[in-house]
Point group: C2
């Protein structure tokens, strides 16, 4: 954990170093992934089954017929879920759906004084693939966050892939798939699953876009199939930035920092405060809380290697720092949280006030928890309904409006050396 102080002459250099610290170890799996994709393209189900047997340690009884998770299995999973967890998932699904419903875009069409009609139409993607990691990173909340915006967008075919290491499949993940309207589920993961979604096999029809988190193999595969299909962002390790003044509760702040740090040793939790007392109290509170945290080993490593406490003279100083960090999650626990939030340009999601811990947003707040990491909130947004739709513009000229506009188009076409463009207009105007 580093401590920076804006009064320190070295602050600017130290802050710049904090911004550029590399938190991800790049695993070089690109060549292996290329080969896996080529095999799935060439041999379809046969390759998919072979890789799945090998990577998920499944036996010869795992065949193409077992790729798809049946309706009966999904029903059985629902029945096997603890009632309390299922109820919490239902609450979350309802709130996520309500929030995203407000994101549905409007079509537009207007006819101008010349008689030209121009506008656009939004349509849902025809199909989407949702990658869900297996094992301990198999999060039902992620299924909701990825699948519900697709349903709200009106995507008619949402396909989920999830590996089942040693044959184990989290029933809550299947429950989440059911609650969020997923149409097909396949027990397959890794680069082979991404290849199947992108190119199709006998069993898995291809999709138009692939979303969802995954390990280095999945990320490399998504980068490779981009173009053949759309992909969402490639997510990096999670991060939180907390702005808190001297009135904040240090134990609450410490809990929030550790909720981030427990994700991953590469996660990052940062506090910016104008209070030396709070800075000190939070540091002590983190140590106390770590003593009883089940994932203390992970959280301690993240806090040690990437944690930071920055002292500023005033929160005016903090605004440009936040914009440069462009945090995935920004908690603001200051007296003027709402006003301060409006001065921030770059953040994935903002959590206002001391009663809005980021974990509420991870599960039941309503906004999406798939958010831009690694400073990409400077140029991108969290997942939403628009990620599952696309816009087609529509233009219609009348003979009269073409006569009004045509000469300018002819002039510009000729000035760009594109006589064919000019002629396609001129021929209609007998010019």
């Amino acid at each position: 954990m580093v401590r920076l102080d804006s009064r320190d002459p070295a602050f600017a250099a130290d802050f710049a170093r904090l911004l550029t610290v590399k938190r991800e170890i790049a695993e070089d799996v690109d060549e292996a992934v290329r080969a896996i994709i080529a095999e799935v393209v060439a041999r379809g189900d046969a390759a998919l089954v072979e890789y799945t047997r090998r990577f998920d340690r499944l036996g010869a009884d795992f065949t193409a017929a077992a790729l798809r998770v049946s309706e009966a299995e999904i029903e059985a999973a629902l029945a096997a879920c603890p009632a309390e967890a299922l109820e919490a998932l239902r609450l979350a699904a309802g709130r996520i759906e309500a929030f995203h419903a407000a994101q549905r875009p409007s079509d537009h069409s207007a006819t101008d004084a010349l008689g030209v009609t121009a506008g656009w139409r939004w349509t849902a993607l025809e199909s989407v693939g949702l990658y869900v990691p297996g094992g301990t990173a198999s999060y039902p909340s992620s299924v909701l966050m990825n699948a519900i915006p697709a349903r709200v967008a009106g995507v008619p075919r949402v396909v989920m892939v999830v590996p089942t290491p040693d044959g184990v499949l989290n029933p809550l993940v299947l429950a989440a798939a059911r609650l969020s309207g997923v149409h097909e589920v396949y027990r397959v993961g890794g680069a082979q699953a991404v290849a199947a979604l992108a190119y199709g096999t006998e069993t898995v029809a291809p999709v138009a876009k692939i979303v969802g988190p995954g390990n280095a193999w999945v990320a490399a595969a998504k980068r490779r199939v981009f173009g053949q299909v759309g992909i969402d962002m490639i997510a990096g390790p999670s991060e939180v930035l907390i702005l808190a003044d001297g009135d904040a509760n240090p134990d609450w702040i410490a809990a929030d920092l550790l909720a981030q740090a427990e994700h991953d040793t590469a996660a990052q939790a940062v506090l910016i405060t104008d209070s030396a007392d709070l800075a000190e109290a939070v540091e002590a509170a983190v140590e106390r809380a770590l003593a009883t945290l089940p994932r203390a080993e992970i959280a301690r490593a993240s806090w040690r290697d990437f944690g930071a406490i920055l002292r500023v003279r005033t929160f005016d100083e903090a605004v440009p720092l936040v914009d440069r960090i462009a945090p995935e999650h920004l908690e603001i626990e200051t007296a003027d949280a709402d006003a301060l939030s409006k001065r921030i340009r770059n953040a994935g999601a903002i959590f206002l006030g001391s009663h809005t811990p980021e974990a509420i947003g991870d599960y039941v707040g309503g906004p999406n928890h798939v958010l831009p990491t690694a400073r990409s909130a400077r140029f991108s947004s969290g997942l939403g309904v628009l990620d599952f739709m696309k816009r087609t513009t529509v233009l219609a000229c009348t003979p009269e409006s073409l006569r009004a506009l045509g000469p300018a188009a002819i002039t510009l076409g000729r000035s760009e050396g594109l006589e064919g463009h000019a002629r396609s207009v001129a021929i209609r105007l007998n010019l």
Copy 2:
């Protein structure tokens, strides 16, 4: 040029082949681009100047001081433009601005029955770099189409880079930059320009996102810097699909096919018709029109290698074919053009009726001409205002609403093995 007929038993296979034909020759410049980017990162302006001298054939008098195009040069360029072309550019700029102004998104915030306030805020990117190719592909219309949506979005810093091979810079490109509110112009191109925009040099401050078309070097550089900055789509060769019935004018259709084909030998122009007579007449009209087209050599190669005429029994058959092709540009010249257009899911831009040649959309229609190519209209949209903005979600709980929602978040956190998440909520509720 291939002729397909949906009555033919081989049609499905032939159509599938048409979809997968590779029109781009992949130039392997990735290693060279990697080296250029590394040099610009390490040596800044010095590397930028060296590469620019070499690739644009400039002398030793080209120094860092000459990188930025001065206000006086821009004023001189404006004065040097033909009045007619300048007037046409102004008309285009005004129409593009008016169309995109309607794309400005709305912020949203709502408080639900529990007292949770949730919503989002759109903000403009802090800075954008616009790549403009040099030489004959230096199109002023592209400057308008890329820069005006950024201005409408409210981007406070729009930077243009354009190479000047042999020192030549198209005055209309500078005029377009001025008309569309570009703030800074640098005479630099290729991978070195992309590197400068992404990482910054002494003279060029870095940007948050890079947009605009370019050659294989520019495309490879954009792929490499993605993550450090945002990028727009990587555009492939242009394409048009025309649906026309027996009442269409074959000479007009031929002109539109060739307006596309003249772009590039890798461009693609396709006609789908229900009329054998029209198919035949268009084929003859294309030959006639080629005879006098200045760029006939390019257009002829495109039409020969990638052109196609598909005959269908009815336009009902055409709808799924269009969706599979997912054309960048779709012209519909049939009796029921508007109704037919509403049945199409996948197209970048639609041009309705016989008086809306695609070239009108290239210049003065108003909608953007930067559109998804190579079937990517299945999952992406043309350039627009949203590409220069990003959305930050905002969530605020009251003590009471946290009490209502908290237990479900705690349950889900624990079910995902993330006790730290659960505790950050529980500690606020004394649970």
